[in-house]
């Protein structure tokens, strides 16, 4: 099987691993898989600015590093600003002839907490200023690095350690913040959603994001088996179900024009929710509520696609 993949797979996907094996991620970590695929798509002429969070922690315990490419981590909420600085620095140094003329993709990466909560101001600033950079949000729907606390990207009904399900609560009582829509509202040239369960679609989008001039934002749903309380061997399946149920549709917005990338008849959301410990407490009524909301949101998205 592996041999077959090496024979045929490398025609489709590079064997280079800018994000090297040997990181400390949990078994089945969908976020690490997503980063690995994104790095394959980006190649080595990049500088990565990484927010504090799981990816930074699993990839960089001194003196080890998973990064075969230039990489900088500073703080939790400032990654888009650090990337702005890297972009400005390389730009002026090239202009002044102090470093070789060569295109370098500046890539900021962060979790949903780093992106939708604490870092949203820095991100908004960087998108608005129009730096030529890519922002990749690896959304595992909670603050995983600090132990599964809720974020504004945690979906309605999920149980987390700071919004636990209990006798008087279903867990998260708010709806997931729509980060891609916020990115679109900045009028940037490229916004997309992606999932490592659709690897070629995801890599295409990351490449496109790198190719556009100006800011690009890709929001990548990344299954966290530890935080979602799912079996370690189902991360890819569950990521696929998120798309197939319409909970996390795959779409892109190029210069304001919406396009749906996977558009088949939707499976019931229960197929997705019932596989996960974080939703185990939900009653059929609650699941129906979620179903109704997903149906409604999906229709809104399709209306945008139809233009």
């Amino acid at each position: 099987m592996t041999q077959e993949f090496i024979k045929f797979g490398k025609r489709e996907i590079t064997m280079d691993e800018p994000f090297a094996p040997g990181h400390r991620g949990c078994i089945g970590c969908g976020e690490a898989l997503a980063v690995r695929l994104a790095m394959k798509a980006l190649g080595r002429d990049v500088v990565i600015a990484n927010a504090t969070g799981c990816i930074e922690i699993i990839s960089s315990p001194l003196p080890d590093t998973s990064w075969q490419v230039p990489w900088i981590h500073t703080l939790f909420e400032n990654t888009a600003a650090v990337a702005s600085g890297v972009e400005s620095g390389l730009k002026v140094l090239q202009r002044k002839g102090r470093i070789p003329q060569k295109h370098v993709d500046i890539v900021a990466i962060g979790g949903d907490g780093a992106t939708a909560d604490i870092g949203i101001q820095a991100l908004s600033g960087a998108l608005e200023r129009g730096h030529d950079f890519i922002y990749l949000c690896f959304d595992n729907e909670a603050y995983m690095n600090t132990g599964i606390q809720r974020s504004s990207a945690t979906p309605y009904g999920a149980s987390t350690t700071t919004a636990p399900a209990g006798k008087t609560s279903i867990g998260q009582q708010t709806q997931k913040k729509n980060m891609p829509a916020i990115a679109v509202a900045h009028g940037i040239p490229y916004v997309a959603t992606a999932s490592p369960s659709f690897p070629f679609d995801m890599m295409e989008k990351v490449k496109k994001a790198a190719d556009v001039e100006g800011p690009a934002y890709v929001h990548i749903l990344s299954v966290c088996d530890t935080g979602w309380r799912t079996p370690t061997n189902l991360s890819v399946t569950i990521g696929r179900l998120a798309v197939q149920t319409g909970i996390f549709p795959l779409y892109e917005v190029e210069n304001g024009v919406y396009k749906l990338n996977v558009d088949k008849d939707l499976k019931p959301v229960a197929d997705y929710l019932k596989k996960q410990g974080r939703f185990r407490h939900l009653s059929d009524d609650e699941i129906q509520k979620i179903q109704d909301r997903v149906t409604e949101e999906y229709a809104k998205l399709k209306a945008k696609v139809a233009g």
């Binding site: 990489w71 981590h73 500073t74 702005s84």
Partner: protein
């Protein structure tokens, strides 16, 4: 020949940033710093300065942009004050720990609440321990010169440290003074091109800012501490070379009429010009009074300070910052501990004044000397006293 012109303190700084051929400026407005970044914006817009000007959405992002650009090897400048400096707080530690030679001007200002845009040293005293080289300029000329020196020292491969240049808000930032504008040719002689040893670039990948598990964190901090202590040599060399090129001499501590002084006043920043008037006055009255001004605040000039106060009986320290519930003004308490182990040491009296833009006059300084001597002789129950408070 360098020309002498009238220049506001803020513009003395931005002119020096231009002469330094700075590559990246991150800018966010806050009084009384704003003239600095406004004039830099103008220089970039007019094509006088070839820099990337990044008008960020907060000071937290200003310093974060500085981290990123400095890590590419670009010469990087920003300026702030007060709330802006506090908003940067956590980022300041990263700049020094990651050895990024950013230069920042701080137009010192009080902290809220109540809101005050006027000057004191509360902002900078809250960031004493962030691991930056920190200096206080007394006048516009010094501010102009110290920018060049700050880049020269910070970017030296033996230092690689960020440098904070403090100027008093309004008293210095907004006052026009005669300044000898340095010549570009001299600046080019003094300040080499920034050659950051491990810049972020795909041609030679580096991992910067990895996390430190317990087995290595202490060693990482020790390495930083050693580098910081050693930066004193670079600092002194920088001032020596500055004198050779520009003819003006700078040192960690300035002394005024200290030789036979029994009582010394100690200040930082622009107030020392006022204090020197009081010293002259009291000298005329036959009182043996002198003045010390600390220019280099970090690394703290222990040797120079101990030497300067060795024959003094009373050292009156004016702090423009309150350390509520603490052992005295921040400067006074540091000086007390710097002198504690000395066999011969003056009594250190901690007075707090000049808060939130309150004027400190020569008469106030005379009062401080007299009150200081009184406290030194009779003792006091209080660790410190606030002066000039209206009852």
């Amino acid at each position: 020949m360098a020309k002498k012109i009238g220049l506001e303190g803020s513009l003395a700084i931005s002119e020096a940033v231009k002469l330094s051929n700075t590559d990246v400026v991150a800018a966010y407005p806050i009084t009384p710093q704003t003239h600095i970044v406004e004039s830099l914006a103008e220089m970039v817009a007019n094509g006088e300065l070839d820099a990337e000007y990044v008008p960020v959405e907060s000071e937290h992002s200003a310093m974060s942009v500085c981290l990123g650009s400095s890590a590419t090897g670009a010469r990087t400048f920003t300026a702030t004050a007060s709330q802006g400096l506090e908003l940067m707080h956590e980022v300041l530690y990263v700049a020094s720990s990651m050895r990024l030679p950013i230069v920042m001007a701080v137009a010192n200002r009080a902290l809220s609440a109540p809101l005050s845009v006027w000057g004191d040293h509360s902002d900078v005293m809250a960031v004493r321990d962030v691991g930056w080289i920190q200096v206080f300029a007394e006048n516009a000329q010094e501010a102009h010169d110290l920018v060049l020196w700050a880049f020269r020292v910070g970017e030296d491969p033996d230092a690689l440290l960020p440098v904070m240049l403090n100027i008093d808000g309004f008293n210095l930032s907004h006052v026009t003074e005669p300044v000898l504008l340095n010549e570009q040719a001299d600046v080019d002689k003094f300040l080499p091109v920034n050659r950051y040893p491990l810049p972020l670039h795909p041609d030679k990948p580096v991992t910067m800012g990895a996390f430190g598990p317990p087995f290595i964190y202490t060693e990482a901090k020790k390495a930083q501490e050693v580098a910081f202590s050693k930066s004193k040599d670079v600092i002194m060399k920088g001032w020596d070379e500055f004198e050779q090129v520009f003819g003006r001499k700078y040192s960690p501590i300035e002394t005024y009429k200290t030789d036979d002084a029994e009582t010394l006043l100690l200040t930082m920043g622009s107030l020392s010009e006022t204090a020197s008037l009081a010293v002259d006055n009291m000298r005329d009255q036959g009182k043996k009074v002198g003045l010390l001004r600390i220019r280099l605040w970090r690394p703290f000039p222990f040797t120079e300070l101990r030497k300067a106060v060795a024959n003094t009986k009373v050292l009156v320290v004016l702090d423009r910052c309150l350390s509520i519930g603490g052992p005295g003004g921040p400067v006074a308490s540091e000086i007390r501990s710097a002198l504690y182990d000395q066999e011969k040491r003056p009594k250190v009296v901690s007075l707090i004044g000049g808060l939130g833009g309150r004027d400190v006059t020569p008469t106030d300084f005379e009062y401080m000397v007299n009150r200081g001597v009184e406290i030194a002789e009779k003792g006091s129950d209080a660790e410190y006293e606030m002066i000039g408070v209206r009852e």
